[in-house]
């Protein structure tokens, strides 16, 4: 029994345990001896466990408080050293965070697309979507190195809604864009195969932030009308 109590005493902070571990243990032994019946000893255990549950966190907090006060006193006395150390720490933390953000984005976290390791971006493709849709669609099959290709043309337009207008960044894409990336919309649909043909291309897929900003996260957004550079969609 005393051994179990001794083990529990190890949960106290080291300084308190070193100073009061032995008397605490001795007191428990005294009280255990004085509690003559089994019920009395059970009550002592319950009381001791409740006591440990309250006093261990209290002593840990007190220890942390003492350490903090000591640290503040020491560092206040050496303010120049403290400022230098804090500046070095701030710089190091900032640099580490910066480097990690880049490494995380480039090397650790993969793109949120199906088979991101197979995706490439070609800035000046030999066959541009501007040369003609059917020619662009045939282009991947003409070589061995691409299994599919989608067009992506970022631009800025004037967005018009029922009661507001704003300059926004959008991208004109080929109809197979989302199918190629393997992305599925949260609700609604992406583009049907023919929806990049003139006359059929009055459709848009909007992002989550856009949905929240301009439609107040209204789930009835599907089929709503927007104007891009004055052109009505849909």
């Amino acid at each position: 029994m005393a051994r179990l109590y001794r083990l529990l005493l190890k949960l106290y902070p080291a300084r308190f345990r070193e100073e009061f571990g032995a008397p605490l243990e001795r007191q428990f032994a005294d009280e255990y001896r004085d509690a003559e019946t089994a019920a009395g000893r059970a009550r002592l255990w319950l009381r001791s466990l409740a006591d440990l549950a309250v006093t261990i966190p209290a002593e840990l907090l007190r220890e942390i408080g003492q350490d903090l006060r000591y640290a503040v006193r020491v560092y206040r006395r050496r303010s120049l050293t403290t400022i230098l150390a804090l500046s070095a720490l701030a710089l190091a933390i900032g640099a580490t965070t910066g480097v990690f953000s880049v490494v995380n984005a480039l090397l650790i976290r993969s793109l949120p697309f199906r088979q991101p390791e197979r995706l490439v971006q070609i800035l000046n493709p030999p066959v541009s979507p501007l040369q003609g849709r059917s020619e662009f669609m045939r282009w991947p099959a003409s070589g061995a190195y691409l299994s599919d290709a989608a067009g992506y043309f970022p631009t800025q337009v004037n967005l018009g809604l029922a009661n507001q207008a704003e300059r926004v960044e959008i991208a004109e894409v080929s109809a197979n864009f989302f199918a190629l990336l393997g992305c599925h919309p949260a609700f609604g649909r992406t583009f049907a195969p023919e929806e990049d043909l003139p006359g059929h291309d009055g459709v848009a897929v909007i992002g989550h932030a856009f949905w929240q900003q301009f439609f107040g996260a209204d789930p009835r957004v599907l089929g709503a009308t927007i104007y891009l550079n004055g052109t009505r969609l849909p």
């Binding site: 009061f20 032995a22 605490l24 001795r26 007191q27 005294d30 001791s48 309250v54 006093t55 261990i56």
Partner: protein, 121 residues
Amino acid sequence: MARIKEESVQSFLPLPLPGFHMLLALSEGERHGYALKREILRRTNGKLNLAAGALYGAISRMLDRGLIEESEERPDLHLDDERRRYYRITPLGRRVAQAEAVRLQQLVRLAESSLGLPELA
């Protein structure tokens, strides 16, 4: 100088009840932790039963604040256990206990004049 000391005594008030009882018990002589606990139990008719962690937590805080100190004097070897620590009240602890008693006395007087108190059995 005396004024500064009085201010420092006042800064300890109000004392927590276990701490006040410990100072009162130690003002009559040195005691080890368990004896202190038993004495407080006796003085309060069993109402204040300090568990070991609470008792030594309070002892630790009072040592830090200079209200009590550890005594180097030990009883005879055959009566002693080296795991026991003996404590005694310091002059500051005595002054703080007195100030707490005065504070409680004033409080009781105030209650008496406001409420009137029943006779103790």
